[in-house]
């Protein structure tokens, strides 16, 4: 029974990672930027959800929508202000800027409300099911199904819709995309909006599921989600999902054997091993530069 429970635990944890990783990978896929501020957008989403529920008495879904909207706007603003100028600069310059933005958001929030944590109100009733002796909470089922639905939706958007095709074109060659009549700025903004709204949604789910939110809450999940995205093959949407789940399961299994202190180390070891055998992640195409 313990093992069924542990697998359930792993999948629940993994689906949170997956949810954040989806937005990460989406942005990366289009402009090849490791958007370190993604974790902070996630944090803002959690706080917007918190204040709208605890402060203004919103229900879960209105709060979720509001958080997604605010984060979408925030993502677009970050892109406009901090990244657009650097589109032709080295990628490492953009990365440093992203780190800068991420610190900026963290400490701005701390400046305005302090660093102490906040407890999420109980907006979503949580039932626990018994599943072959394992306890499954309705919330974790909801998170898993949400991330699957969102993954499918994203996959659909990117591969089947016009804006998705524009995104892929932009990701490959911005100038050529312009020549097709694609508005590159709008397309990139749209990408940030979608990716950031996913982060916002993840923030609300995280708050509901784990209760505790605080201004630095985005750092570790952000890093883990990044690892998950790389694990799955960065830029690949189903990869982020699988990467998140694998990461969640690895961490859980390691803890389950009593090595909880080695949990993060094990996650990184798995990541490195996978990269050594598949240098561009589980789903990544081994795109060696053609000579």
């Amino acid at each position: 029974m313990e093992w069924v429970q542990q697998i359930v635990n792993g999948i629940s944890l993994g689906s949170i990672y997956a949810l954040i990783a989806l937005g990460y990978t989406m942005v990366y896929g289009i402009i090849k930027l490791i958007n370190f501020a993604h974790g902070e957008v996630f944090m803002i989403g959690a706080f917007v959800g918190f204040y709208s529920i605890a402060g203004w008495g919103f229900g879960f879904f209105p709060a979720l929508l509001l958080a997604m909207t605010v984060c979408a706007i925030m993502g677009m603003v970050i892109e406009r202000v901090a990244y657009r100028r650097l589109r032709n600069a080295t990628r490492i310059a953009a990365l440093i800027t992203a780190i800068g933005i991420s610190l900026f958001i963290q400490y701005l929030v701390i400046y305005f409300r302090g660093a102490q944590p906040e407890a999420y109100p109980n907006v979503l009733s949580n039932k626990t099911f018994d599943f072959f002796g394992a306890q499954i909470s309705s919330q974790s089922v909801m998170i898993l199904s949400t991330s699957i639905v969102l993954m499918l939706l994203l996959q659909f958007i990117v591969h089947k819709t016009k804006v998705g095709k524009a995104m892929r074109a932009v990701s490959h060659d911005m100038d050529a995309a312009r020549l097709m009549g694609i508005n590159v700025n709008t397309t990139i903004s749209a990408t940030f909006a979608i990716g950031s709204s996913l982060a916002g949604a993840a923030g609300v789910f995280f708050g509901v599921y784990y209760t505790k939110i605080e201004p630095l809450m985005g750092v570790i999940p952000g890093l883990k989600a990044f690892v998950a995205a790389v694990l799955g093959g960065i830029g690949i949407i189903p990869g982020a999902m699988v990467g998140g789940l694998v990461l969640g399961l690895v961490e859980t299994v390691v803890s389950a054997f009593g090595y909880s202190l080695w949990r993060d180390a094990a996650a990184f070891i798995i990541l490195i091993l996978i990269l050594l055998f598949k240098p561009s992640g589980i789903f990544g195409k081994n795109a060696r530069e053609k000579v």
């Binding site: 610190l103 790389v230 180390a265 490195i272 990269l275 530069e289």
Partner: protein, 311 residues
């Protein structure tokens, strides 16, 4: 001959800088706070310059430099505190073991590219940190108390050697080999450069000096704890290198000095410290994406502008 002269100039300048500071310290004009800040700045310069060799020169995107700092710090602390050996031996041991760690990390990962290399190095640094976290003999999370042994003299000697070695390495066929990897790995390979070898060499040298910095660090701050060597520390070092200008050693030095001073100054403004710091970071990158120095060196400013070719 010109080059040899440059070297002597560097030596003389260094001795002047060292001597002046030492005299000021002895005379009590530079109090403990300033001398300690100078030591801190020098340690940061060593870190920045060592990472500069890996990222700026060889073009390998490593964001796990704090891992090697940690190795140097812990090993040297063990050497002095547990084995009671002299401090210089500890520093050297810290550097050597860190270089060894660099080899262990570098050999498998350096075939990865770009962001994948970045995340792998970050992962290794975290693993190193977690290993120390789980060794009770070095205090685990609580850390290890270390007696202060770092002095301005030790620090300066290490700083001098670091800069001299990395400059000399860079300005030789070996350094050019590394730069050619940064510029175009496929072409470098086709020109007879053993790219794997040079990547690993650069990585190991970088790790060695990070380890040296670790030895100074451990013996300057009374206590070392795994939490001091997390990925945020690696980011700090990365920021020195990028802000200074990728590929510019003097840029790395200047930005290490600048950022350490800015950050120390801002200690007294706790509420807005990180906000200002991050704004500085973002603004510099937005308005000077190539970094403060670009790829140029400070010495270039004194040379006559190189002849422009063409037309």
């Amino acid at each position: 001959m010109k080059k040899i002269k440059g070297f002597w100039l560097f030596l003389v300048l260094s001795i002047i800088v060292y001597g002046t500071v030492q005299v000021l310290i002895n005379a009590g004009i530079l109090n403990n706070f300033y001398s300690n800040t100078l030591i801190f700045i020098s340690i940061n310069i060593i870190l920045a310059v060592s990472l500069h060799l890996v990222i700026g020169i060889t073009g390998q995107f490593s964001i796990g430099h704090a891992g090697f700092l940690a190795v140097g710090a812990y090993i040297s602390a063990i050497v002095t505190m547990k084995l009671s050996l002299p401090f210089p031996i500890a520093i050297l041991a810290g550097g050597l073991i860190a270089a060894l760690a660099g080899l262990v990390v570098g050999i498998p990962t350096l075939r990865l590219r770009g962001d994948y290399l970045a995340i792998a190095t970050l992962g290794f640094a975290e693993i190193i940190r977690i290993v120390f976290l789980n060794i009770d003999a070095v205090g685990g999370a609580a850390g290890m108390q270390v007696t202060k042994m770092t002095t301005w003299t030790y620090t300066f000697i290490c700083l001098f050697i670091t800069i001299a070695v990395i400059t000399n390495f860079t300005k030789s066929r070996h350094g050019r080999a590394c730069i050619s990897i940064r510029e175009n790995e496929i072409a470098a390979d086709a020109m007879g450069i053993n790219t794997t070898y040079y990547k690993v060499v650069a990585f190991a040298i970088g790790s060695f000096f990070a380890g040296i910095a670790g030895g100074l660090y451990a013996h300057n701050f009374y206590i070392i704890q795994p939490s001091q060597f997390g990925f945020l520390k690696s980011f700090d070092i990365l920021i020195f290198v990028v802000l200074g200008g990728l590929g510019s050693l003097s840029g790395a030095v200047i930005s290490a000095i600048l950022l350490t001073v800015v950050s120390t100054f801002l200690q007294g403004y706790p509420e807005t410290r990180m906000i200002i710091y991050s704004l500085v970071l973002v603004l510099v990158m937005l308005y000077r994406p190539q970094g403060l120095m670009g790829t140029r060196e400070i010495t270039d400013l004194f040379k006559r502008k190189s002849v422009k070719g063409g037309s």
